[in-house]
């Protein structure tokens, strides 16, 4: 029975003849991945700096004259949008997706390399357009990362003119870039897997990236639709989202539009976006945990089904972001229920990660530390999500620092912990060098403890009712003095964590030149990306012939096996079994068709 289409055409692979086609206009998925990653990290550093400025204002109000109420709102907006879209989505899918997909499924490249290259350049254009909004009159938009109308396009909101236009145009370009890349990822995974790489032999990283890409392809159109309609409202004076309104004493020509409609569209994109970020992180952390615990991932099939189930359910939970928007209250019951349902497969994944660690031969490497750190931060953020998913608890906590703490733990810190784990784990593959372990461990502990020092107190601020997005609290009776001390402490922690990230950047730059030379498979991983003839993989990845896959990606410490791990491309007949065990296994092997041939 045939089920997949694979053919090796090394001759047809685009050939990088010159320096420019090899490193700049490159169609090689590995180079494109690095281009994506470097751009995303650079723009992420801008967003990190913006958060530092926000924290300076919150921790020490009336101290920094250059932070005005308008600029504060602009920092909040740009920080949020950059982190969610231009860093996390781009790095996880554009960076890791591009690098890992062909290598993990045994392909030479993406199926549409030229389109892949265009995807990166469109992404870079979207970043440039976004960054240019810092330099236009009025500055970038300060409408909040959700860009809710009517205030997003009305006078009085910072960047209501050029800023919001550039934001919307940048988002539209980003979506085009993502679509180009996304079509490549899904088609490559469906059509270009090597011999023996069945869907259920794919590592969970690929499953996470695959489902997240499908989510992105179906959810980003909602953002595109809302951006186009808001551009119409702003530029042509239509009233899709704009109600009849009096602004600064003047009656505007808008009438009858529905701001809540925008919110529905935005969150129809916005909630799947959480999983567009989370699912690749779930997949990659599963692989890191398994490799460094020397155990197969616990409940592989359940993990795959959970990824698919979460992907499907993520489209029917969006309005839990809108309990206070004035929508029909009956919706609240439905969306609270679906939110609780989506927690089931998510919790199942957490249990499976913990059970993978259970009685594993854990190697506390830097990637493993970050991966274990992720289990803590994600569980923490996930549990507070159960609070906010319920209407009656959400109402008093809405728009407070409890929400800020929740979403930073669950979709800020957690995916970033996985990103760090992934960078430490796959850096040797990408560069042929190991990252410095001492600096890595320092980076982990400072980041892990630091993020708790930042976000744990924020939950208490939220319980007190301290509102988010406020430039200054002023004299508010229900907020005690101690809240300000807590804010100052959070700021100090945030600044320390921010500076520690520079050590990570330094570690990368230092290790590129001075890092210990990486052996071919430094973590003794069994997945396919570590089995290339050269490390880092050369153009075309696999030398003259494509690898053939004979097993899943998690054969670690298999009972009876002499080896600690068996790579995916080792035939069953060549498995090294200890005496007494070999015969039993070879009985199985006798039925293996590949071996018979």
């Amino acid at each position: 029975m045939s089920y997949t289409a694979i053919a090796d055409q090394p001759d047809e692979l685009h050939d990088p003849g010159s320096f420019i086609t090899r490193y700049i206009w490159s169609q090689d998925h590995k180079v494109i991945a690095i281009q994506y990653a470097v751009t995303a990290i650079m723009v992420g550093l801008v967003a990190l700096m913006l958060s530092g400025l926000m924290r300076l204002q919150l921790g020490f109000p009336d101290t920094f004259d250059f932070i005005t109420p308008s600029s504060y709102l602009q920092f909040v907006t740009m920080h949020g949008m950059i982190m969610v879209i231009y860093l996390l989505t781009a790095l996880l899918l554009g960076g890791f997706g591009n690098y890992l997909i062909p290598l993990m499924i045994g392909a030479r490249d993406m199926v549409f390399p030229y389109l892949n290259m265009l995807s990166f350049w469109m992404y870079l254009l979207s970043v440039i357009v976004l960054m240019s909004s810092f330099f236009v009159s009025g500055g970038p938009t300060g409408a909040g990362w959700t860009l809710y109308p009517p205030q997003a396009i009305l006078e009085g909101t910072p960047g209501y003119d050029g800023g919001i236009l550039l934001m919307l145009i940048s988002l539209a370009i980003f979506i085009i870039a993502f679509t180009m890349g996304g079509l490549n990822y899904v088609t490559t995974i469906i059509q270009a897997r090597t011999h023996g790489m069945t869907l259920m032999r794919m590592p969970l990283s690929i499953w996470g990236i695959f489902v997240a890409t499908i989510l992105g392809l179906l959810a980003f159109p909602a953002l595109l639709v809302s951006a186009i309609m808001m551009l119409f409202d702003k530029l042509l004076g239509t009233s899709f989202f704009m109600p009849a309104i009096v602004s600064l004493g003047e009656t505007l020509e808008y009438s009858g539009g529905s701001p809540v409609l925008f919110q529905h569209l935005f969150w129809f994109f916005g909630h799947p976006e959480v999983y567009i970020v989370a699912l690749p992180a779930f997949g990659m952390v599963s692989d890191v945990l398994s490799v460094h615990a020397r155990k197969n991932i616990f409940g592989y099939r359940m993990m795959v089904w959970a990824i698919v189930a979460i992907g499907g359910l993520s489209f029917i939970v969006w309005a839990h972001h809108m309990y206070v928007s004035g929508m029909n209250p009956v919706f609240g019951f439905f969306f609270a229920t679906t939110t609780l349902i989506i927690a089931v497969p998510t919790a199942l994944k957490v249990y499976n990660w913990v059970l993978t660690l259970w009685r594993g031969n854990i190697r506390l490497t830097v990637p493993m530390l970050f991966a274990i750190g992720f289990i803590f931060t994600f569980t923490h953020g996930g549990l507070t999500g159960l609070f906010l998913g319920n209407v009656v608890i959400d109402l008093p906590l809405s728009d407070t620092y409890f929400v800020v703490a929740h979403f930073h733990m669950v979709m800020g810190v957690s995916p970033i912990m996985v990103l760090f784990a992934a960078i430490y784990h796959w850096f040797p593959l990408v560069t042929g060098r190991m990252l410095h372990t001492g600096m890595g461990k320092f980076h982990f502990w400072m980041t892990f403890l630091g993020t708790y020092a930042i976000y744990l107190p924020m939950h208490y601020l939220g319980f007190l009712g301290v509102p988010r997005r406020y430039f200054s609290m002023g004299s508010t009776d229900f907020i005690p003095e101690s809240a300000q001390s807590l804010n100052a402490s959070i700021t100090v922690s945030a600044l320390i964590v921010g500076v520690v990230q520079l050590i990570f950047i330094y570690n990368i730059i230092w290790s590129l030149r001075n890092g210990k030379k990486a052996p071919a498979n430094p973590w003794e991983a069994s997945s396919l990306e570590w089995q290339t003839p050269q490390v880092p993989p050369a153009h075309g990845n696999w030398g003259p012939t494509l690898p053939e896959v004979h097993r899943w990606a998690y054969d670690y410490c298999v009972p009876g096996s002499v080896e600690d791990f068996t790579p995916q491309n080792v035939p069953i007949s060549q498995t090294n079994m200890s005496e007494g065990e070999g015969e039993g296994i070879s009985d199985h092997e006798l039925t293996d068709k590949d071996d018979k041939q």
């Binding site: 259920m200 009858g256 569209l265 099939r301 896959v549 199985h588 039925t591």
Partner: protein, 232 residues
Amino acid sequence: MSVISQLSEKPWLPNTAPDQQTLNSFDQQFGEKKTALKFFLGIVTVIFSLFIVTFLERSQFPDFQALAGQPWQPLSDARQLWVNTALLLISGLALQSAAVGARKNKTLCTLLSLGIAVLFSLQFLLAQLWVWQDLAALGYFVASNPANSYFYLFTGIHGLHILGGLCVLAAITFKATRIAINNTKPCWQNLEASLRLCTTYWHYLFGVWMVLFALMTSSAETYQLLAALCGF
């Protein structure tokens, strides 16, 4: 092999992978493009579905004035739009004929059909612009009513999709002309694959147009019914 049985595999056991078939280079490339096109059409479907849902919701607000339903409303007489529909249909059928021509290596038929497809598609776009001009001349500007706004939005976005398809079609026409000059058989096979995908895209956009056409020429009562069905 069904998706469910694939997802039920137990990969930790030996011998769980069924046999695989290696396709030749052409079939594989065609399969890749076909898969990508399916996903792309899925994305376009989401875009238009979301626009339509917002349209139905917006249509229930008191300031919405449908463009059809009463004799004095501009789209009650939709003859102009029917002409445009015919143009798009002819271009789709011409593309189909070009694909058949390429399969049978009929150079003249392929080139002629391709030319007709490009010409009628361009004609469709110009005719849509003509409808815009007529509406504007009657005082139905983009911002004067949400129904007008949606008309310009729907036709504009649909037109952009046709325009994108035309860019691809232009490249194919160029290739076809070169193949006709050199007359090489394997290239016709490649071209046929591209033409088949283009035809699918054109037929799909024709379907989208029919939905948009029906929606924009419906009466306020129809919108009320559709909106009620959607729960608005």
